[in-house]
Symmetry: C2
Subunit: 246 residues, 2 copies
């Protein structure tokens, strides 16, 4: 048995999220179908993050126990020959037996893409959220800085979460402008994220950008004093799992 | 009656091209359905270019005769409320009665996007053509220069064309690298293009990049001496109508 780690990219638009479901297309389902075809037997994968329906990935990480060896340099092509075109394996390597895509992860980086053109940019619409009104970027950056650090993020968690411990370390929140592309991207680097935490934080940061909240309101939101300053949950299509740190 | 000019952007993936067809979704069909809803009567549009199935546009231009005035600043929103999300009107203006989107056009700019990452970049796959092998960019630029000028492009025309005059002025062909994005873009500026001319020229330029043709072969292709140096027709999804010049 060898432990194989894959880096997987996908366009989440057509999927009901990462995690396997009996009656809906999922990324895990497609990867496990490919695995079964490649190895001729049913196999399970473990994943770093179970992205929601419609969320994309440029750097999801999964691993599985291979029942027999295949040269790792051939593995991406073997998967891509079995996968639909909106899921692509971009790297494979053999890792030590104790490696687990989820439990070994030290952190993750997510991006959220906002289209700032006057009208939605049609070739970016599947991967961005359009906000046509002007945004105060400096206020957003100031608010983002207040979210950073090791804190209890219970306020920025959607109902339906089963997290027992809601303390997370948010290493950094970046607010980056791409003027030529008329895009704004928020990058969230952290040791872990609660259910819908990135989309709720982005919703609050956008309200700061629109002048509807002050940066300091996010500190009050975090402490639980201003629950109405949390969110809304922005659409899944702007969110992308960029990278997993080990 | 006022003559209204629109700038239209679209993701062509789901459409059987620009031009109206009875039993297939087309861009023209969707625009004329929106027009009928806005003005309460059937109206026809004229378009600068009839893009093929799967081809995109960031700057298609159309015009129509409005039976009654609507303030132009409200027209894009009126259209976008009636259009599917993959077609977006980004500008409207009133133009002189003699303006015709097709016959008044002095030129057009097309782009063709090539994804050069080792594996296809999944979030770009609808808008690019993946070429994983290394490309000799300088050879491609040298070949592109040979295509420029006022010439008979009959060799770079697909069967099924009805063009009587096959002389076109190709003002400029640019080969531009985007190393960070792992993309290569070809830009074609010309006074007009024959049927599939851009995709056939791109096919030949890619063969030059792959070392399968020498730049000079394209001059021989143009003169009709080397018909086997023409094409292949690259996939529609990499092609985008960027701009129309008036």
């Amino acid at each position: 048995m060898s432990n194989i780690r894959l880096t997987v990219t996908y366009d989440g638009t057509e999927y009901s999220g990462f995690q396997w479901q009996a009656n809906a297309p999922t990324i895990q389902g497609k990867l496990e179908e490919a695995l079964a075809r490649i190895y001729g037997q049913p196999l399970r994968i473990a994943a770093a993050g179970r992205t929601d329906a419609g969320v994309h990935a440029r750097g999801q990480v999964v691993n599985y126990q291979a029942p027999f060896p295949i040269p790792v340099e051939r593995i991406p092509k073997a998967f891509n020959a079995c996968l639909p075109r909106d899921i692509v394996v971009v790297a494979a390597e053999e890792v030590p037996p104790e490696f687990h895509a989820r439990y070994s992860a030290r952190g993750k980086k997510y991006s959220y893409t906002i289209d700032r053109a006057p009208f939605p940019q049609v070739l970016l619409r599947r991967y961005s959220y359009h906000v046509g009104e002007p945004l105060e970027i400096e206020a957003m950056a100031a608010a983002a800085a207040l979210l950073q650090g090791k804190k209890d993020f219970a306020a920025f968690q959607a109902r339906g979460s089963s997290a027992q411990n809601t303390v997370r370390h948010l290493f950094r929140v970046e607010v980056r402008e791409y003027p030529r592309e008329q895009l704004l991207r928020l990058f969230f680097h952290g040791d872990g994220f609660l259910y819908r935490m990135v989309r709720l934080m982005t919703g609050s940061l956008l309200r700061v950008g629109l002048g509807k909240l002050a940066p300091g309101d996010l500190a009050a939101a975090l402490s639980g004093e201003r629950p109405e300053a949390v969110g809304p949950t922005v659409p899944a299509r702007g969110l992308c799992l960029e990278e997993v740190y080990y």
